[in-house]
C-alpha cells in the first residue's frame, strides 16, 4: 500500500542519514530534500496530476506601442514601471515618502526595490501591520504637506481602511471648506485575479469606492499606462486609489519612458475603433477583450470599438456615450461580481444618455455573485468565450 511504501522509504532515509541529519531534516521545514525524496519514492504520486497541469493564462498580453513623446524608453514590466514612477517622484519631490507593509526590502511584488537604499530610511519605510493605520497616517502626512504614497499589500485587505478613505480622505477638503485637504495622498494596491489567488488575493474592489465622491480611482492596463497614470495620481490634488493588476506585474512588458510623464486622469482611451459594438473594460480585462475584438472580426465579421476606461472615478462618460451613440451596442466586462459592480453604473448612465441609440440591451460580462473561488477560477472569470458569446447575442438581438 501507499502508506507502507512511504513508511519504508522514510525509515530507509532516517537510518541512512543518522540522527543529526534526521533532526535537521525533520526540524527544518525550510529544507525541501526530505519532502521531495518522499514524493519521488512514492510509486503512486505521479509527477503531474490532472489538477496540477498548469492552465494557460486566460489572456494574452498585448503591449502598447513604444511611446515616442516622452523621451528615451527602456524595457520594463509592470512592477518595474511602478518602481520607475516612484523613483522619479522621490527624486523630484523632497517631501515624498513611501510606506506600508514590507516596502522597505522592496515589497512583496518588488515594486519598491532599491528605493530605500537610494533615498533613505526616512523616506521608504515599513509600517506596522495595520491598514487603517497606513491610510490614516497617510492622510495626516498629506494634510501636513508631504506627498504620501501608501501601499496596501493586497486590495483584498483595504477594507480596514475603508472608514479612513471614505469618511476622512474623500471628505477632507469639502468638510473643511477647503481649509485642509489630503490631495497629496496616493494609495496603491495590487488588484485582480492572478490564477490562484482565491477569495483574498484576487479581489477588484473598485465598486465599493466608486460610490464615494471625493476620491479618484485609477486602474492601468500595462506598464506605459501604469507609470503615466500613477504619476498623474501622485501629482493630482485629490486623494487617489491606484489599483495595479497583479497578474500583469511580470507578464506585462513594454518599452517605458525612463523620465517622468503623465497620462491624464478621467480620460478613457479608445484603443481600437469600430462600428458595431462598444466594449468597455479596465486593467487585465482589456487584454481579454482585445482578443474578443479579433475573434468577433474573424468569426462574425463584427467590428468592435474597444475602450479602456482607466479612471473609474470620476469616469469619462463622454467618450463612452459618444461611442455607444455610434455603435448602438455596449458590453462592459469586469472580474468583480456583477451585482453592484461598476458595470452597473456605466450601464445606467449610458441608457440614460443613449437610450434611443441602443439597438440591444446593455450587456455586462462579469464575475458571478460569489466570493472569488480558488479551484473554480477558470469558470468564474469573464473569459474571452463568455465575452465572445455576449457579443454574438448583442449582434443578433
Amino acid at each position: 500500500s501507499l502508506t507502507t511504501a512511504m513508511a519504508a522509504s522514510a525509515r530507509l532515509l532516517f537510518r541512512g542519514a543518522g540522527l543529526k541529519a534526521y533532526t535537521a531534516n525533520v526540524n527544518s521545514g525550510a529544507q525541501s530534500s526530505f519532502g521531495t525524496t518522499l514524493l519521488r519514492l512514492s510509486p503512486n504520486c505521479s509527477s503531474q496530476t490532472k489538477t496540477q497541469i498548469k492552465h494557460a493564462s486566460h489572456f494574452t498580453y498585448h503591449p502598447d506601442p513604444v511611446p515616442t513623446m516622452y523621451g528615451p524608453t527602456t524595457k520594463m514590466n509592470l512592477f518595474q514601471s511602478v518602481t520607475s514612477a516612484l523613483d522619479n517622484t522621490l527624486a523630484s519631490d523632497p517631501t515624498a515618502v513611501i510606506f506600508g507593509e514590507d516596502v522597505a526590502f522592496g515589497g512583496v511584488f518588488r515594486c519598491t526595490v532599491g528605493l530605500r537604499d537610494k533615498y533613505g530610511k526616512d523616506r521608504v519605510f515599513n509600517t506596522p501591520l495595520c491598514e487603517q493605520g497606513i491610510v490614516g497616517f497617510g492622510i495626516g502626512a498629506a494634510a501636513a504637506g508631504a506627498t504620501a504614497i501608501a501601499e496596501i499589500q493586497f486590495a483584498d485587505y483595504i477594507y480596514p481602511a475603508f472608514d479612513q478613505i471614505v469618511n476622512e480622505a474623500a471628505k477632507y477638503r469639502y468638510r473643511s471648506g477647503n481649509l485642509f485637504d489630503c490631495g497629496n495622498l496616493t494609495i496603491r494596491a495590487p488588484w485582480g485575479c492572478v490564477g490562484h489567488g482565491s477569495l483574498y488575493h484576487s479581489q477588484s474592489p473598485e465598486a465599493f469606492f466608486a460610490h464615494c465622491p471625493g476620491i479618484k480611482i485609477v486602474i492601468p492596463r500595462g506598464p506605459v499606462q501604469c507609470k503615466g497614470l500613477l504619476l498623474s495620481c501622485i501629482e493630482d490634488h485629490n486623494p487617489c486609489i491606484f489599483f495595479e493588476p497583479k497578474i500583469l506585474y511580470r507578464a506585462a512588458v513594454e518599452q517605458v519612458p525612463t523620465e517622468a510623464y503623465t497620462i491624464p486622469l478621467s480620460q478613457a482611451e479608445v484603443l481600437q475603433e469600430g462600428s458595431d459594438v462598444t466594449l468597455v473594460a479596465w486593467g487585465t480585462q482589456i487584454h481579454v477583450l482585445r482578443e474578443v475584438v479579433s475573434m468577433a472580426q474573424e468569426k462574425l465579421g463584427v467590428s468592435c470599438e474597444l475602450i479602456d476606461l482607466q479612471t473609474i472615478l470620476p469616469w469619462d462618460t463622454e467618450t463612452v456615450c459618444k461611442s455607444v451613440a455610434k455603435t448602438g451596442r455596449l458590453l462592459i466586462s469586469h472580474e468583480a461580481p456583477v451585482t453592484g459592480g461598476f458595470a452597473a453604473e456605466i450601464s445606467s448612465t449610458v441608457q440614460e444618455e443613449c437610450f434611443l441609440n441602443l439597438e440591444a440591451p446593455i450587456t455586462r460580462v462579469c464575475g458571478y455573485d460569489t466570493p472569488f473561488p480558488h479551484i473554480f477560477e477558470p469558470f468564474y472569470i469573464p473569459d474571452k468565450w463568455k465575452c465572445f458569446e455576449a457579443v454574438k447575442r448583442l449582434i443578433s438581438y
Binding site: 495595520c130 492622510i139 495626516g140 502626512a141 504637506g145 476622512e168 473643511s176
Partner: protein, 446 residues
C-alpha cells in the same frame, strides 16, 4: 541644550539620537543615526550558548515559575496635580509661576468659553441652531494644554476642544458662524455645529467619526519631523474614542515611526451614557502607553497648571527626542454629551453637582488668583458682564447673516469641479427655478 546620545540600554526606554537645532545637515545625520541604531538592535547575532532568550521579538530574562502579570487597576498610575481642589499649590517647585497676565488670560478664556457654551446650548434649545456640544468641566484641559504649545503646532481634535481654539484666538464671530452655518463660516456651511477648523490657527477641521484623527496625527507629526522646523503635533480624544482600532493604530505608528506627537486623552468619565467601567478594564488610557513603548502620564485635568506642566514637558521632549507622549487628563463631563442627550437618564444630579461645585477647573484657578489678589469680586462682575455682552453681540450678528451661496454645495468635492458635478449643479438650479416657492431661497446668499 540638546545633545546627541547613543543607545543607552536594550531594556527600558530607548534613548534616541537627539536633534540639534544647529543645522539641517547635522539634524539629518542625527536622524539617520537614530534609524541606524534601531537597525543595529535587530541585527544582534543569535547565540544559543547564552542562557538569555534570543528571540527577535522581545528582550527579557527567562523565568522558571508560572506567574501571570497582574494588571494594576486598584492603585494604578498616579494622578499628577499642582493645586489641590481649593486652588492651593501643593509642591511649590511644581508651580509654573506664570505671570499674572498669563493666568488671568487662562481664567478669562475658560470663562468666555463657558459663557459661549451656555448661550449656544440655549440657542439650540430654542431652535436657532441645530445642535451643540458644551465643554463644561473640561475647560482646564483645553486651556492648560493649548498654552503649553507653540502657535504653529498642529492640533487634531475630537469635538470637545473648543477652548484650544479659543485660546489660540479664534474669534467669537467664527465660532458662531460655524454653528449657524452662515456665509461667514470658514467651513462653508457643510458641517454640523462645533465642527470647527482653522488653517491660520493650525487647528485641523473636526470630523464626526471618532478616533480617525489619531493615526492622522501620527502622519502629520512624521511629516513635521521631516520638515525639521521644530513643530509638534497634539492629538486630543476622549477615553471612549481610545477604544477604537484607530487609536491602537495611531499609538503604534507614532511609537515605531518616532513621531514628535502628544496624545492628549480627556478621560471625562463617560462616552455618552457609557461609563468608564464599561469602556475598559485596565488602568485607564495612560496604562496602555507603555504597551506601545510610549512615555505616559496621568494628570488632574481640572488643574490647569498640572495640564500645562505635563504638556509643556511632553512637547519639549517630543520634538527634541522624536517620540510620542501620552497624557491622560482625568476630568469630568459636567454637561450632557450634546443637545441630543439628557444625562439624567444615566447619572444622578448629585454626581454632577459634586464636580460642578467641588472640583471645577475654573473655580480652582479663581481661588489661586484671589489668593494672590489677582482677581477681585469687581473683576469677576465686570468680566462676566463684558463676556456676556461680547458673546451676545456675536450671536445676534451670526443669526442675522445669510447662509452660504447654494453653489457651495458642489465645490471642494475635488480641487476642481468635475463635468458630472457641473451638470448636477445646473440640474439643481433648473429645478429650483421651477419650484422656487418650495425652497427657503431667501435665507441663502445670492
Amino acid at each position: 541644550m540638546a545633545t546627541a546620545r547613543g543607545m543607552k540600554t536594550m531594556y527600558g526606554v530607548c534613548s534616541h539620537a537627539v536633534r540639534q537645532t544647529t543645522g539641517l545637515k547635522a539634524a539629518r545625520i542625527l536622524q539617520q543615526r537614530a534609524f541606524r541604531v534601531n537597525g543595529a538592535l535587530r541585527q544582534q547575532p543569535f547565540d544559543s550558548s547564552e542562557e538569555k532568550p534570543q528571540f527577535p521579538g522581545a528582550s527579557a530574562e527567562f523565568i522558571d515559575h508560572l506567574e501571570f502579570i497582574q494588571p494594576n487597576v486598584i492603585s494604578g498610575i498616579p494622578v499628577y496635580r499642582v493645586m489641590d481642589r481649593a486652588g492651593q499649590i501643593i509642591n511649590p517647585s511644581e508651580d509654573p509661576q506664570l505671570s499674572k497676565e498669563t493666568v488671568v488670560n487662562f481664567y478669562q478664556k475658560m470663562t468666555l468659553l463657558n459663557t459661549m457654551d451656555r448661550i449656544l446650548y440655549e440657542s439650540q434649545r430654542q431652535g436657532r441652531i441645530s445642535f451643540y456640544m458644551t465643554n463644561y468641566g473640561e475647560e482646564g484641559t483645553h486651556i492648560g494644554s493649548a498654552a503649553a504649545l507653540d502657535s504653529k503646532d498642529l492640533v487634531f481634535g475630537q469635538y470637545r476642544e473648543a477652548g484650544v481654539l479659543m485660546y489660540r484666538g479664534f474669534p467669537l464671530d467664527l465660532f458662531m458662524a460655524q454653528c449657524y452655518a452662515n456665509a461667514d463660516d470658514l467651513g462653508k456651511g457643510r458641517q454640523m455645529p462645533v465642527h470647527y477648523g482653522s488653517k491660520d490657527l493650525n487647528f485641523i477641521t473636526i470630523s464626526s467619526p471618532l478616533a480617525t484623527q489619531i493615526p492622522q496625527a501620527a502622519g502629520a507629526a512624521y511629516a513635521a519631523k521631516r520638515e525639521n522646523t521644530n513643530r509638534a503635533v497634539i492629538c486630543y480624544f476622549g477615553e471612549g474614542a481610545a477604544s477604537e482600532g484607530d487609536a491602537h493604530a495611531g499609538f503604534n505608528f507614532s511609537a515605531t515611526l518616532e513621531c514628535p506627537l502628544i496624545f492628549f486623552c480627556r478621560n471625562n468619565g463617560y462616552a455618552i451614557s457609557t461609563p468608564t467601567n464599561e469602556q475598559y478594564r485596565g488602568d485607564g488610557i495612560a496604562a496602555r502607553g507603555p504597551g506601545y513603548g510610549m512615555l505616559s502620564i496621568r494628570v488632574d485635568g481640572n488643574d490647569v497648571f498640572a495640564v500645562y506642566n505635563a504638556t509643556k514637558e511632553a512637547r519639549r521632549r517630543a520634538v527634541a527626542e522624536n517620540q510620542p507622549f501620552l497624557i491622560e487628563a482625568m476630568t469630568y463631563r459636567i454637561g450632557h454629551h450634546s443637545t441630543s442627550d439628557d444625562s439624567s437618564a444615566y447619572r444622578s444630579v448629585d454626581e454632577v453637582n459634586y464636580w460642578d461645585k467641588q472640583d471645577h477647573p475654573i473655580s480652582r484657578l479663581r481661588h489661586y488668583m484671589t489668593a494672590r489678589s489677582w482677581w477681585s469680586e469687581d473683576n469677576e462682575r465686570s468680566w462676566r458682564k463684558q463676556s456676556r455682552k461680547t458673546v451676545m453681540e456675536a450671536f445676534e450678528k451670526a443669526e442675522k447673516r445669510h447662509k452660504p451661496h447654494l453653489d457651495l454645495m458642489f465645490t471642494d468635492v475635488y480641487d476642481e469641479m468635475t463635468p458630472n458635478l457641473i451638470r448636477q449643479r445646473e440640474s439643481m438650479w433648473r429645478h429650483i427655478q421651477q419650484y422656487k416657492d418650495h425652497y427657503p431661497l431667501d435665507a441663502y446668499a445670492k
